[in-house]
């Protein structure tokens, strides 16, 4: 492991000590296996202690670790017969979003993944994973193709955000993202989204609307980057660690808010410490979930998807807190009016307005 973060230093120290003892025992031909075993146990405890109580900011740092399995690793490892499909047919081919057909665990899919690049040259070409409008339009084009041939869509999200630049604005970055969200909300084929690293704002949402939203244990998803939030709140991007806490951007928080459905576990220490094991888990999750989604009749699937998004949001209604959660998750369902009640209320309301012509603004309800 080459990359490590400040909070991982104690782990590094113990690992180094073990290496030294091993070397010493080999060179001097003395048996230190007892001490080494003791240190190994200590290391294991230490790892558990550190990784089981990561702060949100530490998790953001892990999510950004370049050693994590990314879209290209996943394609190479378990997307069989992958055929890349390029171009948006309008302007260009954005390497920050990779699209293509392939097979995951026996399921034919349309695979769409955000790509940051593995070396400096690639990273520059991919704008460090920040797509341009042509990336979103390419993704949409391939999703429509998937819909035509009833292929489920798998979207892997990993972006700090959509690219902020002159060309991106000239070509309608906002419009491209809006169109994708609009079309994904009604696409007549299953969509499965997994955040594998960074889920940066609208740039993530542009390929992030689906029937199932999943996130890796050490990934994050946020309305704004912690640095951006810190710059607004404290005029200091160095306070990103505090911003990461207030934004509630960790998988556990996001699941609690009713936004994400599933958290995909990672090896202890993060996906980058054992990419092969991490990808094994990802493959198993995608395979299982694709089986589930494909079993749902398409009309029901699209309706459930609509209702899922329709009910995300937390607000107060009539002085009484109403927490609206995903249907079927059993969270404060009792607070929700039934569709019948809504219809009755709507009809009553419409009649009331028709009957009383002098209804004044603000007097309703």
């Amino acid at each position: 492991m080459e990359d490590f973060l400040e909070f991982e230093q104690p782990i590094k120290d113990v690992e180094k000590k073990i290496e030294e003892l091993k070397k010493f025992s080999e060179q001097m031909d003395v048996d230190l296996s007892g001490s080494i075993e003791e240190l190994r146990k200590q290391l294991d405890l230490l790892k558990r202690e550190i990784y089981n109580k990561l702060t949100p900011w530490q998790r953001v740092q892990l999510a950004r670790n370049p050693g994590r399995p990314d879209t290209m690793d996943i394609i190479a490892t378990f997307v069989e017969k992958f055929q890349e499909l390029h171009g948006d047919r309008f302007f260009g081919d954005d390497p920050a979003i990779v699209c293509g057909t392939g097979i995951i665990g026996g399921h034919k899919v349309m695979f769409i993944g955000q790509r940051k690049g593995k070396n400096t040259k690639e990273r520059l070409r991919c704008n460090f994973g920040s797509p341009h409008p042509e990336g979103y339009r390419k993704a949409l084009r391939k999703m429509k193709l998937a819909e035509k041939f009833h292929l489920p869509v798998v979207c892997l999200i990993n972006t700090p955000g959509a690219y902020p630049g002159i060309g991106a604005e000239e070509r309608g970055q906002a419009h491209a993202i809006a169109e994708n969200i609009f079309e994904m909300s009604r696409l007549r084929t299953p969509i499965l989204c997994l955040v594998i690293g960074e889920g940066g704002s609208g740039g993530a949402l542009g390929i992030g609307v689906g029937d199932r939203l999943a996130i890796m244990e050490n990934a994050y998803f946020s309305v704004i980057s912690p640095e951006g939030c810190a710059a607004i709140l404290w005029k200091d991007s160095e306070k990103a660690n505090r911003a990461a806490e207030v934004l509630k951007l960790t998988p556990k928080d996001l699941k609690g808010l009713g936004i994400f459905d599933d958290i995909v576990p990672e090896p202890l220490g993060g996906a980058h410490t054992n990419p092969a094991a991490a990808m094994e888990t990802i493959k198993a999750y995608l395979t299982k979930t694709l089986t589930e989604l494909k079993a749902i009749p398409i009309d029901k699937l699209v309706e459930t998807r609509y209702q899922k998004y329709r009910h995300i949001g937390i607000f107060l209604e009539d002085q009484q807190a109403k927490v609206v959660m995903l249907p079927g998750k059993g969270v404060v369902e009792s607070a929700l009016p039934t569709p019948g009640e809504i219809a009755a209320a709507e009809m009553g309301e419409a009649q009331a307005v028709e009957e009383e012509e002098d209804v004044k603004p603000g007097k309703e309800d």
Partner: protein, 287 residues
Amino acid sequence: MAFDGLRRFISRRKKPIPDGLWMRCEDCGATVYKRVVEEKYRVCPECSFHFTLTSEQRIAILVDDETFVARWNNLSPSDPLQFKAESAYADKIREEQARTGLKDAVVAGTGDIYGKSVTIVVTDSRFIMGSMGSVVGETIARATEYAKDHGLPLIIVSGSGGGARMYEGALSLMQMAKTSAAIARLHEAGGLFISVLTNPTMAGVMASFASLGDVIIAEPKALIGFTGPRVIKQTIKQELPDGFQRSEFLLEHGFIDQIVPRPDMKDRLAQLIEAFRPEPAAAGKLS
């Protein structure tokens, strides 16, 4: 009609002008008589810059008198993240509510435009920069569903520098999906949605419902885009071209249908609604 205010101003000009009645136009910098700007349309007489309107003023110039019925106004923001920084979101909500008299950054309801019923939503940029949190998202979704169910045209006037509201975290981001999904259903039912963009319409608002109009019209010189100009400048370390991300720039690049000066907006909306009104034979398509 546009210059009624100006004419009235000229006729009043003989009177001595008391101090403090002049103001500087935030766009052209000209010193203009405050009363002109505070006329109905609030447009700079020198450069025709459109000053910000409150939701109330906006509704007054677009909807026939005494026809507006406020709906979905029983929703107010909670503080789902318990967001606390230097100041707490809960306090901010209370302050903004007290200052603006609004519950959140949106006013919605039904009303008539020259006798024709519409569903209208107006975001109010005074309330936390017109940003979209759960209440704005839910109100737009309800208004859109109402428009669909009642076969009414939907008009959303956007004015949001803030985009998705930071203080509600990812919940705000998901309102982009909620509003867009509702608009997709209106679209499938054959309903008309006219998106009106005002200064400024940025980020998560522009990257969702505001971009999804069947017809998109903008007021002149409005700042419209995804990333704010300051952040772009920081990122690319270059000066931005003149007029970048203004309405005229968007028209030139093909992202809006028309630029409509404020005094003409109501007439233009009426014309568009009429242009797309289904012929009797096709009217059955609306649910």
